[in-house]
Structure formats: structure tokens, C-alpha cells
């Protein structure tokens, strides 16, 4: 067992721990910090697997943009909210049962998959470097790339519309 495999195990355990902590933490700020640690561990897994582009953008976009925004909103809102104290809703028991069933079914399908093993670090094929990745992205998937710009414009317009309608209902 090499140090690469040990690191993948370590990051996987950290991601799992972060996911479990998200369910049991009481304050949303602690949930956000658990999610950030989970995302950073996943970025570590991607880096150990050789997919450095995804690892870098996981840190930049998810942790750097999305979660910073989320932490900012948590600080903006009132901390004396009753939902900050009572963690779970009435769906606690069915939710846990359904989640366990889903994890079990997916796990059985993963075991029955019987896939060939991939070696961490051996995935550092040249196709995962930035240049071939970008060439492939813009040559094969240029339509999807342009469609994402439409999606982002729609999101911006929708966010502005939501804010404006909220102001109108206020006064």
C-alpha cells in the first residue's frame, strides 16, 4: 500500500466524517464548516487521482465562491432563529430509513458492479492536463458551454426579479 492510496483513504474518511457532521451539527455555521471540510477532502481525492483540473476548480468555485457566499448569508441572518436550536423535523424517522435504504441499494449495486481497479496517480494521463482538457471542452462540448452562459444569464435575471418582487411586496 503506497502513500497515495493511504492519502485517498484518509481524504475519503474525512469527507465521510464531514458528511455525517453535517447531519448532527446544530448551528448552520458548523454545518457550513463541515461541508467545506468535506469539499476540501473531495478536492484532495481528485488531486490524488490525478484529475487536477477538477480539484482546483472544486476549491475555487465551491469553497471559494459558493460556500463563502453561504457563510456570508448565515452571518447575515438572525442567530436566534428557532430552527437553529431544534435540529430535526417530523420527517426524522422516515428520512433516516429512506436514506439507509438508498445507501444500501446503491452499495449493493456498487458491489455487484465488479469493476476493474484503478490506481491512484496512474490516472494522471496527459488528457487531464489543462490544455487537452480545454481543447476537448471547447471542441466537442462547445454547445453545452454556450448553453451554460444562457443558464447563468437566466439565473441572474431571476435573482434580480426575486429581489424586486420582494421589495414591491414590502411596500
Amino acid at each position: 500500500m503506497t502513500i497515495d492510496q493511504l492519502l485517498v483513504y484518509f481524504f475519503g474518511a474525512c469527507a465521510l466524517l464531514g458528511g455525517v457532521l453535517m447531519l448532527v451539527a446544530r448551528h448552520p455555521m458548523r454545518v457550513a464548516l463541515a461541508l467545506i471540510s468535506c469539499m476540501l477532502s473531495l478536492a484532495g481525492i481528485y488531486a490524488m487521482l490525478g484529475v487536477h483540473v477538477v480539484a482546483v476548480f472544486q476549491v475555487l468555485i465551491y469553497v471559494g465562491a459558493v460556500m463563502v457566499f453561504m457563510v456570508y448569508v448565515i452571518m447575515l441572518l438572525d442567530v436566534r432563529d428557532p430552527s437553529f436550536v431544534r435540529r430535526y423535523s417530523r420527517m426524522l424517522l422516515p428520512g433516516v430509513v429512506l436514506g439507509a435504504l438508498l445507501a444500501g441499494a446503491l452499495g449493493i449495486s456498487a458491489i455487484r458492479l465488479g469493476a476493474p481497479a484503478i490506481q491512484p496517480g496512474a490516472g494522471a494521463a496527459p488528457s487531464y492536463l489543462v490544455q487537452p482538457f480545454s481543447v476537448e471542452f471547447l471542441r466537442e462540448y462547445w454547445l453545452h458551454f454556450e448553453l451554460t452562459s444562457v443558464l447563468l444569464v437566466a439565473a441572474v435575471v431571476a435573482a434580480i426579479a426575486i429581489i424586486r418582487s420582494g421589495r414591491r411586496s414590502d411596500g
Binding site: Q5, G12, V54, L113, A115, S127, H144, A158, I163
Partner: protein
């Protein structure tokens, strides 16, 4: 042996944890964060499949998921802020106006 099955299993468990979090927690922001956890699990599965098949399609899809996550947050956060301003609460059990 950090094989495909292990990474896929981790992805499935993270997805199930996110789903349980969406169903179980009361706070709207925490539910949003659990949705992000589900998206992260999907990204891990995509990267694993992309490595196994030695193609770039999975990694390209990961970038599209990044865009979807950014757009989701950009829309969901104003909605949550408006809801909390109306009811001065983030408890989703208080929002039962649509219940028949």
C-alpha cells in the same frame, strides 16, 4: 486498493447523507447545503467513471455541474432571504401555506 468500487461507495453514501439531510433538517439554509453535498457526491461519481473509462466526458460534465451549482445558489439564496424576511424564520415547517 483505492478502486472504483470504493470511490463509488463513498459517492453513494455522501448522496444518501445529503438526501437524509434535506428530508430531516428544519433549517432552509442547512437543506440547501445538503443539496450541495448531493451535487458533490454526483461529481465524485462522474470523476470516478471518467477515470475508469479514460474519457474526458465525465470531467466536462463536472464543469457543467459547477455552473448549475453556482446558478442554484444565486437563485436559492435570494429566495431564502425573502422567506426569512417575510416570516422572520428559517424553519421550513412554518411554511405550510401551500398545504391543502
Amino acid at each position: 486498493m483505492a478502486d472504483t468500487q470504493l470511490l463509488l461507495g463513498l459517492s453513494f453514501v455522501l448522496f444518501a447523507l445529503g438526501l437524509v439531510g434535506v428530508m430531516v433538517r428544519r433549517n432552509a439554509l442547512v437543506m440547501l447545503m445538503c443539496m450541495e453535498l448531493m451535487l458533490n457526491a454526483v461529481i465524485l461519481a462522474l470523476v470516478t467513471f471518467s477515470l475508469e473509462t479514460a474519457t474526458l466526458s465525465g470531467a466536462v460534465l463536472v464543469f457543467l455541474i459547477f455552473v448549475v451549482a453556482a446558478a442554484e445558489i444565486a437563485i436559492a439564496i435570494p429566495i431564502v432571504l425573502l422567506l426569512s424576511r417575510q416570516r422572520s424564520s428559517l424553519d421550513v415547517e412554518g411554511y405550510d401555506r401551500l398545504q391543502g
